[in-house]
Amino acid sequence: MSTTAPRTFPQKYGGYALLGFLCLYFLLPLWWLLVASTKDNAALFGGSGGALWFDDSFSLIDNLVGISTYENGVYWRWLANSFFYALVGGLGATVVSVLAGYGFSKFAFRGKGIYLSAVLGAVMVPATALTIPIFVIFSNAGLTNTVWAVILPSFLSPFGVYLMYVFAQDALPDELLDAARIDGAGEIRVIWSVVLPLLKPAIVTVLLLSVVHTWNNFFLPFIMLTDSKLLPVTVGLNQWQAQATTASGVFQPWSYIVTGALVSVVPLIIAFLSLQRYWKGGISMGSLK
């Protein structure tokens, strides 16, 4: 294309050099993780290949067996918990955001101005400042150490509402909604057959962002949950790490922590790579207005 063709050779060369360097930098820890998951404890802390290359011994299978049996295979339970919390929390946040975004963008009602300002203000309230108060409230209500303690607070996603609101303003023409109503569609039918299909890119984006947010959230489950069977994989691995750094003499599960970390990052990376065409357009919605 004429917009990119007339560049001088050195400039392009410099661009590729920068990209190559960035790729190495961003891949380095993941490459280390992949290599380290094939090592046992001895190789991890002083093997023949160094930190960034494979050891003579190959222990990936042993490590996978290890994470499946260590502490009665609680690792897979953690991974299943992570999926459950992320999916239910993410779906809840998305449903709430879609309804609110549609309501704010296409209906005039009393108090909407203040209400909308509250949403925008809430985007700027740091989530961790809310976590300890929510813990105290849940603790008084006997809700700590239950799945609800992690799932319910995840439903709050002011940024998701904001993205939906901005997107719905342009993606839903009033004429189309009115045409559907004149043809006799009720409000629920309008949402189901007109609104949801048109909002699809925004829905996938908000769903992905809130699933990742819940999956990666550490502080909330960290303080809410004490029962090992309820932990998500992030907090579980953190507990193994605490165990490994304090326990002397006893077995230190470092190779299991590393392998468990690798297994747990694979699903999200696959989700992102396979859903690219949906989120790529949507991720900038908030800033394009």
Binding site: T4, Q11, C23, V119, I137, E175, S284
Partner: protein, 311 residues
């Protein structure tokens, strides 16, 4: 786009729509009600409760009683809290420019290249966003080790000992690196998408006027994506001030260079859960939340014209 295919509404249709919109006002309330409920339950009530609790104290001797602003007076004179505040502010001042520079330059380079390598590297740079912060900190913790990290091999080539990147002098930079690695790709994607939204004829015009590639990048592309930059800046500042997971994860292996009061959030956590001083912890949470909120509100107002978040 759907919008362009539909003819402008006739006056009759507009009038009917306006009447319909008002008649259906209650539907707007119903649609936004679930959000309203979540908003009240998990934002308004916790904040109100934190404020109320922070004005009280609860001790074995005195019991639960009203102390007014005592917890806040204590906080602003508490050297441990203030040390954490200074740290996160310093952290923000160092981290945010680095993050912006990395993500902006990556986005600008990616925007100017169309090869397969550029596509692949865009994904590679983004991938750390999908890695939980706990695992990011864990991986870098291993890589930082002077005893079994890659630095050991590198330095032993010259017969030297590798430096300890988690020593108290280096741990600040070590954390800056982890957070940059984690978030720069996400910010890069936001800027990249904004760059792709620019009409390419603008570049044509600039080129005809004799602008170089550098000038186009700095004088046209950067100003045109400024709303994305402001959005990222606000996110980065909000995220950095509530810093918790990475230092908490590195703490056990950092050999004392990260203490329990390293950031205000860690201090609030240990005050509440190690010492049981919930009232004081909530005062710290509330101060932190208020500072972040007021700070970003001022920033958003100051950059209102450029910012993405407007009504």
């Amino acid at each position: 786009m759907v919008i362009q295919n539909i003819a402008a509404p006739t006056p009759v249709a507009t009038r009917r729509r306006r009447a319909g919109r008002q008649r259906r006002g209650w539907i707007g309330w119903i649609l936004t009600a679930p959000f309203g409920a979540v908003f009240i339950a998990f934002l308004v009530v916790p904040l109100g409760y934190a404020l109320w609790m922070s004005l009280r104290t609860n001790s074995l001797i005195g019991g639960d009683r009203w102390v007014g602003g005592d917890n806040y007076l204590k906080a602003v004179q508490d050297p441990l809290f203030l040390k954490g505040v200074v740290l996160v502010i310093g952290f923000t001042l160092v981290l945010v420019p680095i993050q912006m520079l990395v993500s902006l330059s990556a986005a600008l380079v990616l925007d100017s290249l169309t090869s397969r390598f550029a596509k692949v590297s865009r994904l590679i740079i983004f991938v750390p966003y999908a890695v939980p912060a706990v695992i990011g900190a864990l991986m870098w913790g291993f890589l930082y080790s002077p005893n079994f990290g890659p630095l050991k091999d590198l330095f032993s080539l010259f017969g030297a000992d590798a430096p300890d990147l988690l020593s108290s002098g280096n741990v600040f930079g070590a954390l800056v690196n982890i957070v940059t690695w984690q978030w720069a790709g996400y910010y890069m994607i936001i800027i990249y998408a904004a760059l792709k939204g620019i009409d390419p004829t603008v570049y044509e015009a600039a080129k005809l006027d004799g602008a170089s590639a550098w000038q186009i990048a700095l004088r046209i592309k950067v100003p045109m994506v400024s709303s994305a930059l402001v959005l990222i800046l606000v996110f980065a500042i909000i995220g950095t001030l509530q810093f918790f997971t990475e230092p908490q994860t590195l703490r056990p292996i950092a050999g004392g260079s990260i203490d329990a009061a390293y950031t205000p959030n860690m201090y609030a956590y240990s005050t509440a859960f190690s010492y049981g001083q919930f009232n004081y912890a909530l005062a710290i949470s509330f101060v932190l939340g208020a500072v972040v909120f007021i700070g970003s509100a001022i920033f958003m107002t100051a950059t209102r014209k450029r910012s993405g978040i407007t009504e």
